[in-house]
Amino acid sequence: MGADVTDLAGQCSDESGNCQDALRELERYLDGELPESDLSTIRSHLSACYPCADRASFEEQLRAIIRQRCVERTPPDLHDAIRRRLDTMASAS
């Protein structure tokens, strides 16, 4: 992860190192796994820094695309097969 963090920091107007911090936390932030105490720091950075916000938004959309594209059609007889299996188990017990 090190390389792209450094590269990206060069694109940011923020020179305080906040970009590196934000990008290091971005994955956990998008996963909803950052502790409450760290949320305000990354949120205020993302609201102030366009490059980081754009990257975050891309990552979010990519996740949405993956989720939407993974839908499967359940074979029509799977539910019936399961009920029959449960019937068999119930009558055996």
Binding site: I66, R69, P75, L78, A81, L86
Partner: protein
């Protein structure tokens, strides 16, 4: 998991063994007294709570097995196992995580032995890959690149990931499980889940980038593309 039910049974056996059982209690302090459910009630409760999850379980099994027939077999077997151990499930706790844990262990016991590929790792260099940076190199806006990604691309790119990475990414990005839940489902430490997710997502994105290059959406000569 079953300690609560066990102590209830113990409490009633002192000198009350001859008593006619009281009407099954639905809930005591938020916990259903499972031991007092009749077979029919247990079946009804199971159908009510678990059958609505079957479609999603099938989706997960498809990503696990990459084969519709095997996926159906895994789901059937997992649901049967869940039914047999449903009395151990503590009502009010995380049913989905419990079911996916069963699905996971069922898949492993049924298919790992005949797995086509050994456990694989991902190259260290994957850590430096950034789909975002690459997607900005073409003529299309990076969001247009994302929109062009099809179901087949995503499914093939997931199928391409080594098993442990594929499962972690699927459980997080498609099923929305938290790190802790994935750790329980896959029986691994949270740190392992996080690194599998990080690297698995990078590898997935790299494959998606290759589709995007193949379709002329982004520039294949961009730095970092290899």
């Amino acid at each position: 998991m079953t300690t609560g039910a066990g102590s209830n049974v113990a409490d009633t056996t002192d000198d009350a063994s001859e008593q006619v059982p009281v009407e099954p209690a639905r809930e005591v302090d938020g916990t259903l007294l499972r031991t007092e459910l009749t077979e029919a009630e247990r079946r009804r409760l199971f159908e009510e709570q678990v059958l609505p999850e079957v479609d999603r379980l099938f989706g997960a099994a498809m990503r696990y097995t990459r084969d519709p027939t095997e996926a159906q077999d895994v789901v059937q077997e997992a649901v049967a196992k869940a039914f047999s151990s449903f009395h151990q499930f503590q009502q009010g706790t995380n049913l989905r995580a419990w079911l996916y844990r069963i699905l996971h262990t069922t898949y492993i016991s049924m298919y790992r032995k005949k797995q086509r590929r050994p456990q694989e790792a991902l190259q260290e260099s994957i850590d430096d890959f950034s789909f975002y940076d690459e997607a900005r190199t073409g003529d299309s806006a990076e969001y247009e690149v994302l929109e062009q990604i099809t179901d087949e691309h995503v499914k093939a790119a997931l199928a391409d990931l080594p098993e442990a990475f594929r499962m972690a990414v699927y459980l997080a990005d498609v099923e929305g499980f938290a790190y802790k839940e994935i750790a329980e489902i896959m029986d691994t430490p949270i740190g392992t889940v996080m690194s599998r997710l990080h690297r698995g997502r990078k590898a997935l994105q790299k494959t998606l980038r290759e589709y995007a290059v193949g379709h002329g959406l982004i520039d294949g000569d961009a730095p970092g593309g290899q």
